[in-house]
Symmetry: C2
Subunit: 305 residues, 2 copies
């Protein structure tokens, strides 16, 4: 089964208690593609970069088997650059610099052969662009959408329309509260699902994630890590693992959705262990499955006795 | 198996978004005893109240089958009174009034017949008093201890000694961080367990709880509730369910500890559904087991496929 990924490809400058990197490959589409490619093929990336995009990063994406037919290089502009600093608790960060560059006029054009992709991943970009993607795709089985507080406050109307048209919305707990004006997560979930998405995933960082569907709530744990080096891309890696695994299984039911949430959590847990995409570039499918089993062990509740 | 509970018996005034109560039976020993009594017998309460302690509350404890041989009424003083107001998010509260009254000079004297109790629950009281209890008990199989930030900052030395002498410490995530000066919970847990407790439970409120033992971390979910009426006593009810169930099973291993954490979580989830002890007074063991099963369903991760 095929996965289409639309989002940003960027260079990130990251400062964290564990150290810093000046300029490393990042962006939502990068993380989503790399994470989902562990599970399925083809993974098709639609994104745009500038003349400063380095050959080794191009190679990196190609060597991981990501389909780059929808990947555009603009020779007149520079690549999107973001710089941020994480605080000691790793839960909050300051943006130090944002240079949209080529990303400012990003207009996702979906190649003809991509339009029939079965799972469509809308990375965290302007909801107006997410809508343009939805207008172009056909025959998809599942649309998965990420967003952030920036769009909730700044592009509310377009975001509401996007939300009404996707199957799975993935947001964090703060965003769910901001989107609904409601504190209680169970009520948030009902309100958001009433807007359209059949499935809602609320990420809670170090507290795991919830999956809300018609008949059930699934509470997924977070993997306990003693050292979180860099949270950048964790949410995108989650989406990649989630969508990649569902694409591979090709059956959307409660059991597979739960597995997908855990595979998403597994990818996020690896992502944060090193800066940028470094850790995702090291691991194998064997490592992923081993950590999946560790997630199960972590949360198993014995039957009553 | 027998459970000994030492802690406060109080009257609480509670203001919350859902309403308020002027004066309702509360205190850590009350909640712990009532919750643990669903699972085991005898449950022995050591606590003290004043001349204003109402006959109907005395009846309430007796009718629930709680052993009150260690329960003292001081005819010269009033009962400990606490009044607090919960904020909209239910996670934070302000203390509006504290009248220690008879509790100011509480000196737990353990009746001879109680000294052989197998599980000893040290409710959240001055660690100096917790130590006096530990000095009096013998032949216990397990000591379970609760504390709070007030003692971490105000009675550090005695608290450290208490912690070094108990088998299970139950605290919340903020307290774990305050106790260690460390943000990462996994590191907090190692540091706290190095102080003595073989088992550590870190409660995370609406995010569930973690159990740390020699070879495993157990991540227990929280039960999703759309209406939390009154969080007072939730932590004590957790301790009661935990200790009560372990007392009933009488075998301390990983499986039973996990069950105990879930039974504790079940009791806490019921407790918050109404003001004071009201909800705990309504439910049956059948309701408890049904919710245990709901906890399992909530967090079950299917095997890889």
């Amino acid at each position: 089964m095929s996965v289409l990924v639309v989002g940003s490809v960027a260079y990130d400058g990251i400062e964290a208690p564990a150290g810093k990197v000046e300029r490393t490959l990042g962006g939502s589409a990068t993380y989503i593609s790399v994470a989902s490619r562990f599970f399925t093929n083809p993974v098709r990336l639609v994104g745009t970069v500038g003349y400063d995009f380095e050959e080794r990063d191009h190679h990196f994406l190609r060597d991981r088997g990501i389909d780059l037919e929808g990947f555009r290089v603009d020779e007149d502009q520079r690549t999107f650059f973001w710089k941020g600093r994480y605080h000691d608790d790793m839960n909050t960060r300051d943006t130090l610099d944002t240079q949209l560059n080529v990303f400012e006029h990003f207009n996702p054009v979906i190649p003809e052969v991509y339009k029939g992709s079965r799972i469509v991943c809308l990375g965290n970009i302007d909801p107006v662009l997410q809508l343009r993607v939805l207008d172009q795709v056909t025959q998809h089985k599942l649309t998965v959408c990420d967003t952030m507080n920036f769009w909730i406050s700044g592009a509310r109307e377009a975001l509401e329309e996007t939300i009404s048209r996707v199957d799975v919305l993935i947001i964090n707990d703060e965003e769910a509260r901001e989107l609904t004006g409601e504190t209680n997560l169970l009520k948030c979930a009902s309100m958001i699902r009433a807007k359209g998405p059949k499935f809602l995933i609320i990420k809670k960082g170090e507290h795991g994630a919830h999956l809300y569907s018609d008949n059930a709530v699934f509470s997924a744990p977070a993997y306990p890590l003693s050292d979180i080096v860099d949270p950048t891309g964790a949410g995108d890696s989650f989406m990649g693992g989630f969508a990649g695994w569902l694409s591979y299984r090709d059956r959307i039911d409660e059991e597979n959705l739960r597995r997908a949430v855990i595979y998403g959590s597994v990818m996020a847990s690896f992502c944060v262990e090193k800066f940028g995409t470094q850790r995702l570039a090291e691991i194998s499918r064997f490592d992923i499955d081993r950590r999946y089993d560790a997630f199960r062990k972590l949360s198993v509740i014995p039957a009553r006795s």
